[in-house]
Symmetry: C2
């Protein structure tokens, strides 16, 4: 951030009075431009025991497999974001179940949130940001080709919980690599 | 947003190719400036069955009571944000328990996340953004003076769950007023 998005003047970085951290401050109009972590929201969608994955058509991790997920938009709920991202990336419609994982990724300034869900039908296909969409059983998951550690962590929780038959909410974090 | 924070040129609002929503776009440098919901993170901290509340010294809701909470910062986890905000607003130290509520507030472009926690001692006091800090039993909660609906919802889940002795995670949303 070099310029004030409100008035166009040059930005300074300093700690405002009463604040604890350096901020992007505009000395011309007085605006303080805060930066905050972003939410990436997605769905672990099941059909007959198998899970919907998408192979990424975009960077980062082009060509790797992921649960459908993406940045939450202004004006939507977490549940709406999970359903929208699944529709955009896999043209798939869901019945959403419970919020399942919330995982902090501090080194990326992100928090990843996944719902459990059930596919409503098998009429899915790659959206613009996907190369392929497919269902995977537990022993077919391409673990070495999973795009993000939060996705692998969410899948592992799912297969572990499924043994006991009790799916419980999981909060966690990804340690720095 | 009127000016590009990268290059200082005037911003246009239009839908980029391949996108579904109008964005703040810079035709000079090509930057797309996305806006995303922000996370407000706090703690429901207990001492001997009573809950720590803070009376707000700042707008919005100046003078109303809240669980200690605030905007999550770049580079921290949700758990770290909950502990930091409680320290800043109530000078209180916590043992964090489980993530307890995640509540979407789409009309404010926010998601509020609260941890359950235990106060480590009674050595708390108002921080710069609080007028008062105090412990409240269930029947002492100033329900008419609670600052935010997510705080009231989190408190109600807590007192309901406490009857059964089983605290479970709650996801939800605040409908438009």
């Amino acid at each position: 951030m070099n310029y004030c998005c409100t008035c166009g003047a040059t930005i300074a970085i300093r700690t405002p009075p009463g604040d604890a951290l350096p901020r992007h401050v505009c000395d011309a109009c007085g605006a303080i431009h805060y930066r905050n972590p972003r939410m990436v929201v997605g769905a672990l969608a099941e059909w007959d025991g198998r899970i919907l994955l998408c192979r990424r058509a975009i960077e980062p991790r082009l060509g790797k497999w992921t649960l459908p997920a993406g940045f939450m938009e202004i004006g939507e709920t977490v549940a709406q974001a999970a359903a929208r991202e699944t529709l955009e990336e896999a043209n798939a419609r869901l019945e959403l179940h419970d919020m399942y994982t919330v995982i902090s990724v501090p080194q990326a300034n992100q928090v990843h949130l996944f719902y459990r869900a059930r596919l409503l039908d098998l009429d899915f296909s790659p959206g613009e940001e996907s190369l392929e969409t497919a269902l995977f059983g537990e022993h077919e998951i391409p673990w070495e080709e999973i795009a993000f550690r939060t996705v692998a962590m969410t899948l592992r929780h799912f297969f572990t919980d499924r043994i006991s038959g009790a799916f419980r909410f999981h909060a966690g974090e990804i340690p720095p690599p």
